[in-house]
Structure formats: structure tokens, C-alpha cells
């Protein structure tokens, strides 16, 4: 469905990225949509080049899989911003760019003389996005934070965890606090880009990660805003002001599945009964007579009836138990596909490595091969989060080696080989 060799929607966009772990995801999202993203790194390399895991577990600035993932399609330029020559090159780099994306601590860009106020007068079309834990100003601007503390303070952790509240709330893995901030950074950079398309005007975007996760908590927030109710965390399901029944079951093969909301329509209940029969498990499930009653109902079981007790509630309880019973009696994948083919919204709880091998993801081409010429090898990467038919997402190049593009980019800026040599001699690049 993608036009062959078509370029991404942002191919005309030039981005300068000055980001560590918090903002690199934003740069990747832009780069994978076609933007030229120049990552400015200190001469010793961005610190995330030292983050595990490594290719073959050998620590090396060009072998961090963390860096590989977050920096596809980017170019790497080393530049010491603690020198005035380095800052001069940075200004020239920004001067030919459309977007400056940075996640430096509040105050650092100003201290370098590279803040929006320093750059915009000469370049009114510049879009600068600053990603910080609590925004550029305000009561906690400058307070230290990590992905853990952002997700803990901003609401997600309050809603995640277990029925047993002796166990702490849980912060989900994978840098989701940083990434949520990045999703907002990218969306608003694109809003600002459209405004510039229409008017020529640039602007500064103050992106607040604590605020971003605060508005990424679904009912946790609006249950309070609207009804002043506090949701309580529950194992593997929605935190709620009113407790709900468990949904996670360990399947026969040991993996967990999520059974979700059990069916309430007679036809669906009949399907459950038929499935038990197919599996030869009707007699093993002692409540089967209730399923027969449910299949013969002349109405759907209402949510109100489920709460009230009585026959409908008993039937619904049996339906839920039947779903959980089947989940425990067969393998996780068979349960997932078996329920979905019966129009029930249940899921298998995959680990990330299992997702990439799943037949559906394979068939859609989610796994993409990325060549690493420096290693004489290619590897499978997670692919497109969205398919754009006329201007496709793509990984055109693996993450850059440290300083791989310094020479080419300096040449593009009009810096002569002699000047480059001088910058190198003084440790600027």
C-alpha cells in the first residue's frame, strides 16, 4: 500500500536535536517521518551511548541497543558547547534548521546563549521545543526528575499495581513518562510547523513532562474532576472507584491472558457453551447449567442486573467463570485467538520479544530489517507506528556512529577542511 520509494511527510524539515534520554524519542519520531535530524553530541558522545543493553553485551559507544532504538535515521555531529567556537557552529547549524529540539535542564540553553530569545531575533521562523520535567518556569522548574519520579508524581503510578495495597503502586516500564512528553512535543512541533506553513511565523514550545503524564491517566483524572472520586488500583485492570472482578488468568502454558469483560448476550453465552463442548470440558465446568439458562434468555444481561444479584447476576458470574475456566485449560495463544474468533475482546499478555514474532505483526511487515554496515549485519527493528500511504514512515539508516556526520555537516555549513582541522585540534568537534 505504500508508494515505493516515496519519501516521508517531513522530508523538507531540518531538525537540530540536543537531547539525552528524555527527548530522543521525539527526534526519532520526526526522523522516521522523513525529517533530517542532526543530533548534537559532546565530543565524548551522548551519555545514552553508554546505556545497556549492548550488541553482544560489549559496551561501546556505537553498540548500545538503547541508542540504536532511539536514534534511527539521525545524523551525529560532535560539538563542544562549552567553547565559543562550538556554540558558533551550533548557531550556524540552527540557522539552517526549522526546528530546535532540546531537553536540557531549564536555564542551560540561556547560559549558553542559545535559548529561544537568543536565536529567534535573527530567525523568526525558528520553532524551538524545550522538553523539561516541570516546564520552563513555575514552582518546581529545575527540580530533578527521572522517568520513575515523573510517572509517580503525575498520576500513572497511582492507578497501576495490585489488588493488594500492601504492595506499592507500579511504574510501568520502558520510559513511558519521557515518551509521553515526547508525543506532546512532536504533536505540537507539527502544530507550530503548520502555523509556520500558513504564516511564516516560528515560536517556542514549552513542553512539560509532569503535565503530559498528568493528562495521560484517563479516568484517574476525570473521575476526580467530574465527580471528586478517587480511583483505586487493581491487578491488571482499570483502577476504579468501585472494585471490579479480576481478569488475568494463567493459561495452561504458564503465560497470562486478560479476559476483559465477559459476554452478556444470550447468543454469546451459547457460543461459550459450544466452546466448552468442543473442548470436551462441559462436565468439568460444574456451572454449565447456568450457561444453558443464559443461552436461553430472551434479553441481554444488563449492567444493573449484574449488580443487583438474582438469576441474571448468577448467570453472568458463571459466564465469567467459564471464560476464566477455559483460559486456564488451554494455551494462551489458543485462548486469545479462540476468544477473538468468537467475537470476545480478550488478549494474550505478550512480552515485547514475543510481539515481534507474532504472525499478524509479521504479515503486516511490522518487523523491519535495518542494515548495520559497520558490523556487516542487519537486524530486525520494531517498525511503523502508523502507515501513511503517500509519504511512508521508514528507517532509512541505523543510528549514527559517534560523530559519523560531523565532516559532512560542517562541509554543508561552509566550514573549510582547514577550519575543521582547527576545531578538531582544539577539541571542539
Amino acid at each position: 500500500m505504500n508508494a515505493p520509494d516515496a519519501a516521508g511527510p517531513l522530508t523538507d524539515l531540518r531538525v537540530v536535536e540536543l537531547c539525552d534520554e528524555a527527548g530522543a524519542w521525539a527526534g526519532k519520531l520526526l526522523a522516521d517521518l522523513g525529517a533530517e535530524v542532526v543530533k548534537v553530541e559532546p565530543p565524548g558522545g551522548n551519555r545514552t551511548r553508554g546505556y545497556a543493553p549492548f550488541y553482544r553485551d560489549e559496551p561501546h559507544p556505537d553498540r548500545s541497543l538503547y541508542f540504536w532504538h532511539y536514534n534511527t535515521n539521525k545524523r551525529s555531529v560532535t560539538l563542544g558547547l562549552d567553547t565559543s567556537d562550538g556554540r558558533g557552529v551550533f548557531r550556524r547549524l540552527v540557522a539552517r534548521a526549522d526546528v530546535l529540539l532540546e531537553d536540557q535542564p531549564p536555564g542551560r540553553m540561556a547560559a549558553l546563549g542559545l535559548d529561544y530569545a537568543d536565536l529567534a531575533p535573527a530567525q523568526p521562523g525558528l520553532i524551538m521545543a524545550s522538553l523539561t520535567p516541570f516546564g520552563r518556569s513555575g514552582p518546581r522548574a529545575g527540580a530533578p526528575a527521572t522517568d520513575l519520579t515523573i510517572l509517580a508524581g503525575a498520576g500513572p503510578a497511582w492507578s497501576c499495581g495490585y489488588d493488594d495495597h500492601a504492595l506499592p503502586p507500579v511504574r510501568g516500564g520502558g520510559n513511558q513518562g519521557y515518551q509521553t512528553g515526547c508525543h506532546w512535543a512532536v504533536a505540537t512541533v507539527l502544530v507550530a510547523l503548520l502555523h509556520r506553513d500558513f504564516t511564516g511565523e516560528g515560536q517556542h514550545l514549552d513542553v512539560n513532562m509532569h503535565a503530559a503524564s498528568n493528562v495521560t491517566t484517563e479516568a484517574g483524572t476525570y473521575q476526580w474532576l467530574v465527580a471528586r472520586e478517587t480511583v483505586q488500583r487493581q491487578t491488571g485492570r482499570h483502577a476504579s472507584a468501585r472494585p471490579s472482578a479480576g481478569v488475568q488468568v494463567r493459561a495452561r502454558d504458564g503465560r497470562w491472558v486478560t479476559t476483559g469483560v465477559a459476554p452478556r448476550r444470550p447468543r454469546e453465552i451459547a457460543t461459550m457453551l459450544a466452546w466448552l463442548d468442543e473442548l470436551g470440558l462441559r462436565d468439568a465446568f460444574e456451572q454449565w447449567p447456568l450457561l444453558e439458562l443464559g443461552a436461553a434468555l430472551d434479553h441481554d444481561i444488563s449492567v444493573a442486573a449484574m449488580m443487583e444479584g438474582g438469576t441474571d447476576a448468577a448467570i453472568y458470574g458463571a459466564v465469567r467463570d467459564a471464560l476464566n475456566f477455559i483460559a486456564g485449560a488451554i494455551d494462551s495463544y489458543d485462548f486469545f485467538v479462540g476468544t477473538q474468533r468468537r467475537n470476545l475482546q480478550c488478549g494474550i499478555i505478550y512480552s515485547p520479544d514475543e510481539v515481534i514474532d507474532d504472525p499478524h505483526f509479521r504479515e503486516r511487515g511490522f518487523a523491519v530489517e535495518v542494515t548495520h554496515p559497520e558490523l556487516g549485519a542487519s537486524f530486525v527493528y520494531p517498525g511503523a507506528p502508523y502507515r501513511l500511504s503517500a509519504s511512508p514512515w521508514s528507517i532509512r539508516r541505523r543510528a549514527p556512529l559517534l560523530g559519523e556526520d560531523t565532516r559532512a555537516v560542517l562541509t554543508e555549513l561552509g566550514i573549510t577542511p582547514a577550519e575543521h582541522a582547527a576545531l578538531r585540534a582544539t577539541g571542539v568537534v
Binding site: M1, L33, A52, P53, W68, H69, Y70, Y116, G135, G138, P139, A143, P144, A152, G153, P156, A157, W158, S159, Y162, L167, P168, R171, G174, Q176, Q179, T180, H183, W184, T188, L190, E201, Q203, N208, H210, N214, A219, T221, Q223, V226, R233, G236, R237, Q248, W256, T258, I349, Y350, S351, D353, V355, H360, F361, R364, F379, G383, Y386, S389, A390, S391
Partner: protein
């Protein structure tokens, strides 16, 4: 407040719940005219949130759902029944004046109605069309149904949220409904830029499960490159685990019922600072001075930190540690982060909208401030068909009589 960045953009929006409605909401906050289109035959009930709790008071009904209001602020609302002949005649006129059509029905629904991308492209060749569903428009699971928890389960996000020795905790809400909305907004906005540059429209196929799977990319690479599986004997502990490794790093008890504080020692300096605050002999142990040493004594260290934090009020301890440069955050309850957190208040993160029937209600704001074209959220979600006259009359030039007639016929 400055101008509206997206004032010239119009979105014809069939998308609902959070995964769909949340995407066009972002465009609306920055000034796009988003026309939410709903079926009058079932009073918009396809969007299960329309009349769903929470409620502001004792009243109930399809215009009074609190979450629907949250997700549909700043949009116009019209009704249109695509199963009627006249509805099917009218819809192309809406498409013809729109830049974007967005929907998040189950895969294939719009095609079966005769309004897939190919058909809409025939109406308006440069239309941008977003299809947003769980497994995408192709592939063996295309017919499968999802909601947030299923997307999170299948994509690896549920598995990677857990404590050691426990089953998956997962995400206690539809995190990926937010995620689907964010990726959907990004796709629409990028396509709008492409359209501005080339004049070309396109079809956007967004599968929430794929979008979600990109969010655990490093773990996927560790498998595809190093052959290392995510499931290990020791299991996941997503409070402790971090890249890069940190210790202490976790969520610890604080004084009070179900009160907790997160602390992250990023390096040896953070630990030295924390150890000074703890002021106990065990914390001064030289063996703990290095990360290697702390990781080697992880269980005892984390237990000791937890025993220390348990005596303190979470937010007081947060302030104290933050003041000496150690990242710390009380696990805030909704009421605390909304009504007692000075940073969210200073940001204006909870704007009050006016909803025609519900009155004044607070909603989620936008976590970005734009220096020239900032967001604005003032109007609540539309009541069912609230803007039929404005859209069908004002935009399409239909007469009041015609609108009344179509309403009586069940078309609007």
C-alpha cells in the same frame, strides 16, 4: 493569547471513545474546526462514553457523560445517519469541505458503508483519511476487537509493568487509548504538512497494537540482536529496573494509609546526598558508595530505604529530597495532583469548560504552552446534534426547513 494555529483546518470526525476522540481533540485545542459526526438512530451510542459516568450531578442521559465531555471539548457536534439514502447523499458534501476525515470504527466498517478511503478520494482527491483501530486494516487479526487493556496486553506493555514475583500489574487504565490518540494526531498533522507542501492527500492506517509495540523498542532489539528474551526467571520489576541502572530506585512506603514516595538515585552523588539525609550507620557503609556495591546489596538496600521513608509524610520528604537535588516524587492521588499541586495549577492544566447541559466542568488541559499560538479549551463537548444548524445551514447552506425535514426523517 495569540492566533489559532489550525484555524484553517477542518476535520470531519467519526472517531470516538478516547483513542479516536483524543486525537482530534488536540487539533481542536489549537483551533481546528472539528465536526464530530454521530448517528441519530442510536443517539450516538456507538461511543460508549457518550452517556457514561462520571456525572456532575444526579442527571443522566446521552449528553451528560463526563468522560465524553473531557474527550470532545472544542468540537462541533452534528448528527448524520449513513444508513439512510439522504444521509449518504449528504455525507459527500461534508467530505468535500473537509481537510481530514477521521474514524476509529472496527476495521472495514467504513468500507462496508461505502465510505472507505477509495470512495472518499473520489469525492475529494486530496482528502486525508485516518483509520484508527486495534490491529490495523490488514492482516490475520484485522477482524479482532480491542480496547485499551487488550492493546496493552498484546503489545508487551502489560507484561513490562510488574513487581518481582507477581503477575503482570499492567496499566491500570487505557494508557494506549491516550497513545492511540497521540499517534493519530501526529499522523494527521504530518499528513497536513505533506498536503501543504505537495497538495496530496493520503490514507493513514493506524494500528494501536503496532503503535504500542514501538514503545518497548529496546527490549525488542535485545531479542532480535542478542537473542535475549524478556521473560526471565527473576521476572520484571519495573519499579527497580531502569536504563541506566540506578539504586536505590523504587517506590517506597510513606507515613499514612496507602501513601508512597518514589526515589531515584541517578548516581553515586545522589546516593551520598540521600545517605547524608538518612543519617544512619548502615547508610554510611562504604560498600554502598558505588553503584556496583549498591546493586550487589539491592534487596537489603531497598528494604532499608523503605524502612526509613515509612516515617515521613510523602510530600514533605519529596520537598526535602528535591531541595538537596535527589529526584523524589510522592505518588500523588488524583485530588492531590489536581487540587494541591502548585505546578499543575500554575500551568493552567485543568481548564474549566462550559457545557450546554452540564454547565461548568473542569477537563484535561494541554501540557505544552506555545509562545505564539497557544491552545484554548473553553467550550465543552457538543450535545448530540447541537451544531446541526451551524454546520448544515452555515457551512453547507441548507435551509432551516430542509434541516427540520431531515431531522424528522431521522437523517439528522
Amino acid at each position: 493569547m495569540g492566533g489559532r494555529a489550525l484555524a484553517s483546518i477542518r476535520v470531519c470526525d467519526f472517531s470516538g471513545v478516547l483513542a479516536g476522540a483524543g486525537a482530534s481533540r488536540i487539533l481542536a485545542a489549537f483551533g481546528a474546526q472539528v465536526i464530530r459526526v454521530e448517528n441519530p438512530a442510536n443517539k450516538g451510542a456507538w461511543d460508549v462514553l457518550r452517556g457514561a459516568p462520571p456525572y456532575v450531578d444526579e442527571r443522566r442521559g446521552h449528553n451528560l457523560g463526563g468522560s465524553f465531555n473531557n474527550h470532545n471539548v472544542e468540537k462541533l457536534g452534528v448528527t448524520l445517519n449513513l444508513q439512510t439514502a439522504r444521509g449518504r447523499e449528504l455525507f459527500p458534501r461534508l467530505v468535500a469541505i473537509s481537510d481530514v476525515v477521521a474514524e476509529n470504527f472496527a476495521a472495514g466498517v467504513m468500507e462496508r458503508l461505502g465510505f472507505g478511503y477509495a470512495q472518499l478520494r473520489a469525492i475529494k482527491p486530496d482528502i486525508i483519511y485516518l483509520s484508527n483501530c486495534g490491529f490495523g486494516a490488514t492482516g490475520p487479526y484485522q477482524p479482532f476487537k480491542t480496547w485499551g487493556p487488550v492493546v496493552q496486553a498484546v503489545s508487551g506493555l502489560t507484561h513490562t509493568s510488574a513487581l518481582a514475583g507477581q503477575p503482570p500489574a499492567g496499566w491500570g487504565y487505557s494508557f494506549m487509548d491516550h497513545g492511540g490518540a497521540y499517534f493519530g494526531a501526529i499522523a494527521m498533522l504530518a499528513a497536513l504538512h505533506h498536503h501543504h507542501r505537495t497538495g496530496e492527500g493520503q490514507w493513514l492506517d493506524l494500528a494501536a497494537t503496532e503503535a504500542a509495540a514501538t514503545l518497548t523498542g529496546t527490549a525488542i532489539l535485545d531479542y532480535t540482536v542478542n537473542g535475549r528474551r524478556t521473560r526471565t526467571a527473576s521476572g520484571i520489576d519495573s519499579n527497580r529496573d531502569n536504563t541506566p541502572s540506578m539504586a536505590p530506585h523504587g517506590i517506597y512506603p510513606a507515613a499514612g494509609d496507602d501513601c508512597w514516595i518514589a526515589i531515584a538515585c541517578r548516581d553515586d552523588t545522589d546516593w551520598a546526598t540521600l545517605a547524608t539525609e538518612i543519617r544512619a550507620p548502615w547508610a554510611a557503609d562504604a560498600a554502598l558508595a558505588t553503584l556496583t556495591g549498591r546493586l550487589a546489596r539491592r534487596d537489603a538496600l531497598e528494604a532499608a530505604v523503605g524502612a526509613w521513608t515509612a516515617a515521613f509524610d510523602a510530600r514533605a520528604l519529596q520537598s526535602r529530597l528535591e531541595a538537596c537535588g535527589v529526584p523524589a516524587a510522592a505518588v500523588q492521588r488524583p485530588g492531590e495532583r489536581i487540587d494541591e499541586d502548585a505546578t499543575t495549577a500554575a500551568w493552567g492544566l485543568w481548564p474549566t469548560v462550559r457545557h450546554t447541559e452540564m454547565g461548568a466542568v473542569r477537563v484535561d488541559g494541554i501540557p505544552v504552552h506555545a509562545s505564539r499560538t497557544d491552545w484554548r479549551i473553553e467550550r465543552g463537548a457538543p450535545c448530540l446534534g447541537e451544531h446541526n444548524r451551524e454546520v448544515y445551514g452555515g457551512l453547507l447552506g441548507m435551509s432551516d426547513t430542509e434541516i427540520e425535514e431531515l431531522t424528522a426523517e431521522g437523517v439528522l
